[in-house]
Subunit: 168 residues, 2 copies
């Protein structure tokens, strides 16, 4: 009995009251939000011992995954699915704590290149084991075929979500 059953019931009833309200997409969107929220909360709990939260983690991981060359703030914004103002805020924190380096892109002086310092890399490698085992617990829900299926379906959903937002 998941807590989501309540949501499902409400959606079904709304669809009855107002037939134009589409049951299936409403379910999908609510499921995504609920999962996202649980992942967020759980990550916050685990990361707390490192003085980090889930957003900090997302940003740090994207930087860890680009080696020494660094990336721009806009790339970081897209990769971490955050607003640029929020990326700036998080980067200020990471920079102040000595985990991030920042320098102007010589190619385009509007751009700011960000990357991890050695201290930042060490920090990431410190929490990576616990975060990896957490991620593995999510992965354990599916076999390889299902995982591939889910990834494919989510990519398509993300595609339309991006498009809808763009066209609005």
């Amino acid at each position: 009995m998941s807590r989501f059953d309540a949501t499902e019931n409400r959606i079904n009833l709304t669809h009855q009251r107002f037939p134009g309200y589409p049951r299936e997409p409403a379910m999908l969107v609510r499921l995504v939000k609920a999962i996202s929220q649980h992942v967020h909360d759980t990550a916050n709990l685990v990361l707390r011992q490192y003085g980090l939260n889930h957003t900090d983690y997302n940003v740090l991981m994207m930087l860890y995954g680009c080696q020494q060359e660094g990336m721009t703030v806009t790339q970081l914004r897209d990769a971490a699915a955050e607003k640029s103002a929020n990326v700036t805020r998080v980067c200020n924190i990471l920079y102040d704590r000595g985990w991030m380096a920042r320098f102007a892109d010589p190619q385009d002086r509007r751009r700011v290149l960000v990357s991890l310092t050695p201290e930042g890399e060490a920090l990431v490698e410190q929490f990576l084991p616990s975060m990896s085992s957490l991620l593995n617990q999510y992965g354990a829900a599916f076999d390889a075929r299902e995982t591939a299926q889910l990834e494919n379906l989510l990519k398509r959903l993300l595609g339309v979500a991006e498009q809808i937002e763009r066209e609005l």
Copy 2:
């Protein structure tokens, strides 16, 4: 070329640098976050004209989907995937604007029953057409079989996410 490609590349590289970091669950979790974020932003944009945001909407819809009987704040918290403190905050707003009724549950006086006022129902019915058509755009990405598949996989993912959080 989705903006998610950047994320995918970072994850692959991280997996190379630190093989214990599991690529697939990391992808799933990031996809969910990205979708959630886009849905949130788009809904905020659409709902703005009604003086509402996505969270207000989620709460209002759950209340609309339970007819006159109302629901408790805890049920609302679960159904809307929010923290109780946030539900209180949103309810204060909705109450102040005259869209929500609140009264103590006679069965258990710790509980507060919330429901929509007639004005609240009218408001919901006012934005439901635009929100329904927005939802339909998401649904258009899949045929019936795929939708069912995705719903099933997401429910399972939510199940483990809930369990992981519970056990932490």
